[in-house]
Symmetry: C2
Subunit: 218 residues, 2 copies
């Protein structure tokens, strides 16, 4: 009895992801699904990214996924871009952004007026990796204080993503960690995954990230 | 069709949790479910905790929950205590330790020979909060680099737990963060939740944590 029900739900989710994908393509908006553990720096990175793309005349929008609060939307609001906050708490506290939530959020966005759409997923290194939202690219942020073993322990995220950003490199002098081991562990899970070390707070490495966004959109 | 199936699964999980609880009580082993985001310091804390309790003649066992790898078990193995590794990857990559996995792990443990049993949950600040494993206490570790807003954004975890450990206080001089704001945000979600600031790596605050473990077992 159970498996057919689960399949039905996943099939619905995949169908919605396909609809989202078609809408992104038809509006020519490049969509990035940004995923990480809680507190890895997704919102800080987004603020920097939107400013830098804006300086090049590129227009960004954001779908902010959180279980609760509008904190992150409020942080991005001064940038003056279109933002839709999705809170899952009233709907069972979902641990990831689903394709149906993206679809619902799109009702509030004028896709034709955007070049980039960022979906900031819920802070969770496990479940969000399982769901297709119709996005062009999946990006994982791994925060250095989380430790070098995380790619090995949460392998699906690192298999599914197209880019890994290693954030908070400004803390490296204070951590008993080694960047080379991060790279080795990531390569052990996914040899194709490009890695860019960054500090979203300080600005280190962000040019490489912006170049990746520009190159992948072309 | 869907809701009855989900209810059935949850009812089975709760029944297994009750069975686990009965076994912990009958063996007089105090069981702690340790939860956090990936890389918040659960294993480092466990190593310190087991050593300190061991010095007082108290015998510990561990159920290590991970999606993949036996890294954490290997880190604890030199302590010479009973450890059972639970990997969820072969079973669909579950994002939390379920009561059925605890039940299966108990087949490999002699509960009568233990005073404390620690269940190190999978690194995830969302889903593990939803499941009763039959444990005596739920403890959340929040790592300072994750930021002050996490209790507000992941409220269920902070509502369900009996204690919050604020870890990596040794990094405080290098972070643009304020301990008082952490405390305020935790209190906003759960005014009853005690908070102990610690550095598992340096050893700060661990006496208070050990005292909490001793006092709660009595």
């Amino acid at each position: 009895m159970e498996i057919p029900v689960v399949r039905k739900v996943l099939a619905e989710s995949d169908a919605l992801a396909e609809q989202n994908r078609a809408r992104f393509r038809s509006a020519n908006v490049f969509t990035v699904n940004l995923m990480s553990s809680p507190g890895a720096g997704k919102t800080t990175l987004l603020a920097q990214t939107i400013q830098r793309l804006g300086q090049q005349g590129l227009r960004c929008g954001v779908i902010e996924g959180d279980i609760a609060t509008t904190t992150d939307s409020q942080r991005l609001a001064p940038l003056g871009i279109p933002i839709v906050q999705v809170n899952t708490e009233p709907f069972g506290g979902d641990c990831h952004v689903g394709a149906h939530l993206v679809s619902a959020a799109l009702e509030f966005l004028d896709l034709e007026s955007l070049d980039y759409l960022f979906i900031e997923n819920i802070g969770n290194l496990v479940c969000p990796a399982e769901f297709d939202l119709g996005e062009h690219r999946k990006v994982v942020i791994l925060s250095l204080p989380e430790g070098e073993d995380k790619p090995l322990k949460y392998p699906l995220m690192f298999r599914e993503c197209h880019l890994c950003l290693l954030n908070k490199t400004d803390l490296l002098p204070y951590l008993n960690l080694d960047l080379a081991t991060f790279n080795q562990n990531i390569a052990q899970i996914n040899r194709q995954l490009p890695v860019i070390p960054i500090s979203a707070q300080v600005g280190t490495g962000l040019d490489l990230w912006i170049n990746w966004l520009l190159a992948n959109r072309d």
